[in-house]
Symmetry: C2
Subunit: 291 residues, 2 copies
C-alpha cells in the first residue's frame, strides 16, 4: 500500500480523494488544509506537520506548488502536482530535480491533462511523425488555472474563465466576473487582460450577477498532428476528449502518485515516465491486456 497525503482540498483535492477511494493500492493518511472538514481523514493545518507518507499530492494553486514541493521533497516526501504554467515547467523541474535527488525521493510535476496526458500524446505523435505541426485545441470549457488566476486579482468576488477553441491551436478566453462592492470593472478587466495567463490570447471580460449560475466543469481537447513518417507525408493523427475536468485531473494525479513511487530519485514530467507505471496491476497481465 502507498501511504498518501492530499495538500489542499478544493475541487482538485476533493477529486483526488474520490479517485483514491476507488484505487486499491493507495491509502489516504492525511489531508493538509486550513479548512474545517468532516471527511473521515485526519487533517493537518500545515505541510510542516506532514510525516509518515510516501507521497503528497499537491492540489494547491499552481503558483504555490514549486515552494510546497521543494519543502516536502527536502523532507524526503515524494510529490506529484498538476502545475500548469507551461513556460516554467522545464525550469521548475530542474530545481525540484536537484532537491529530490539530494533527499532521495521523486516528484512528477505537471501531471494533469494539459500539461499531462496531452503532453504524452504530443510526444507519442512526434515519435510517429517526427516532422509536422501539432495543434492543441482546448475546450470549450472552464480553465481552472485561468479561473484561479482571475480570482487572485483584487476586486473580484467570483470568476469563471472559459476557453473557446478557434482552431489551429488558437483560443479565445471568455472571462465572467462578479465584482466586490466598490471595485472598478475597467481596472479589474485591464488587470486580467495583462495577467501572464491572458496576455497572449484574445480575452473578453464580462461582468455578471452570478458566476455560480454559469459553472460547468466539463472540458475537452482536440490534438491534431499532420506530418511525415520517414519520407511519407500526409500522416494524420488526432486525439479527442470530452471530460469532467476535476475528475480527470484528480484521477491522473492519483495514477501519478502510483507512478512516482516506482521512479528513481529525481523530478519528472509525464513524458519521462513509462506509461505502464501509472497503472495498477501486474506487469505481464497489463501487457496481455493493453499491448
Amino acid at each position: 500500500m502507498i501511504n498518501a497525503a492530499i495538500v489542499g482540498y478544493g475541487n482538485i483535492g476533493k477529486a483526488v480523494h474520490e479517485a483514491m477511494l476507488e484505487s486499491k493500492d493507495i491509502r489516504l493518511k492525511y489531508v493538509v488544509t486550513s479548512k474545517n472538514l468532516s471527511i473521515g481523514v485526519p487533517l493537518l493545518k500545515d505541510i510542516s506537520e506532514l510525516k509518515d507518507v510516501d507521497v503528497a499530492i499537491l492540489c494547491s494553486p499552481s503558483r504555490a506548488v514549486p515552494g510546497i514541493a521543494a519543502s516536502l521533497l527536502a523532507k524526503g516526501i515524494s510529490t506529484v502536482d498538476s502545475y500548469d504554467i507551461h513556460t516554467n515547467i522545464a525550469d521548475v523541474r530542474l530545481q525540484l530535480d536537484a532537491v529530490a535527488k539530494e533527499h532521495r525521493c521523486a516528484a512528477i510535476i505537471a501531471a494533469g491533462w494539459d500539461p499531462g496526458s496531452d503532453s504524452v500524446v504530443r510526444a507519442l505523435m512526434t515519435a510517429m511523425l517526427p516532422k509536422g505541426i501539432t495543434y492543441t485545441n482546448f475546450g470549450p470549457g472552464m480553465s481552472m488555472g485561468h479561473t484561479v488566476a482571475v480570482k487572485a486579482i483584487p476586486g473580484i468576488k467570483d470568476a469563471l474563465s472559459m476557453t473557446i477553441p478557434t482552431g489551429s491551436g488558437v483560443h479565445r478566453r471568455m472571462v465572467y466576473v462578479e465584482l466586490e462592492e466598490g471595485a472598478d470593472f475597467n481596472t479589474v478587466s485591464k488587470a486580467i487582460r495583462e495577467d501572464d495567463y491572458f496576455v497572449h490570447d484574445e480575452t473578453h471580460v464580462m461582468q455578471v450577477e452570478s458566476v455560480d449560475k454559469l459553472k460547468d466543469v466539463g472540458h475537452g481537447v482536440h490534438l491534431f498532428r499532420k506530418g511525415v513518417s520517414g519520407v511519407t507525408g500526409n500522416q494524420r493523427v488526432e486525439f479527442n476528449m470530452s471530460i469532467n475536468n476535476p475528475a480527470l485531473t484528480g484521477q491522473i494525479l492519483v495514477s501519478s502518485a502510483r507512478a512516482v513511487t516506482k521512479q528513481k530519485p529525481g523530478c519528472y514530467t509525464m513524458i519521462q515516465i513509462p506509461p505502464i507505471d501509472f497503472l495498477y496491476g501486474d506487469t505481464d497481465q497489463l501487457i496481455r491486456e493493453l499491448v
Copy 2:
C-alpha cells in the same frame, strides 16, 4: 551516433531505411538480406555475420522474429521489432528479457502501431479512466495476416483482404480474389469464409480481374474509451489516425531503435518506455516543446 543494422528488406525494411536517412542520430551500417540490392549500404547474407552495431531493427515476418532477436541479443546486440502476434507478446517478452539481461543489452518488441503506439494510447487512456471499455476499430485498410491466409487457399492466384470497421471493435472483412484458371469461385469463397482467420467475422468475398489494381498501403485506426475517472462516468477519450502503414511502422521502429539504446538491460514493450526516449533532442528542450 547510434550504429544500426536492418534485418530483412521488404516493405518494412525499406521504410525503416527511409526513416533512418531522415534521422540525425542513427547511422545504417549493414542490411542483412539474401536479396541482391544496390542501396549504398554493405549487405550481409546472415545475422551470424553481424557485428559492430548498437542495435538491429528486425523487419522479418513476425513468426521468425523471436528466434532472430534471441540470437542477436545473445551476441550483445540490442534489437527492436514490430512482432504483432498479440496473444504471444507477453511470453516472448519474458523469454527475450532473460537473454537481454544475461548479455547486457536491451530489446523493444511489438514496436509498430498496433501493437505499438496504439498500446501506449490504450495504457494512457486506462491511467485516465481506470474503469471502462476501450474499443479498437481498425481500418479501412489492408490486413497482411488475412491476405496471407487467403493466398494459401488452393485456386487463388492473388488476393487482398481489407479490414472495414463496423464499430465497437467489430470488423467486416472484404476479400478480393483473382482465381487461377479452372478454379471454382463458390468453392474458394466457402473455403475463405470457413478459415480460422475469417470464421468469426462478417466476410464478403469478391472475384476481380486484377488484385494489383486495388492495392493501397493506407490504413487507419479509431480507438475509443468511455469510462470513469475517480467516481465520475461518461468520460470520453478517442484516438484516430489515417496513415501509410509501412511508413508509420518504419518510423516507429527507428524511434524505438533510438529508445532502446537508453534502456537498462531487458526486454520491453512500448508501454514500458518513457515516451521522451523515442525522441531525438535535448531533454529540457523537448520538455519545453511538448509538455
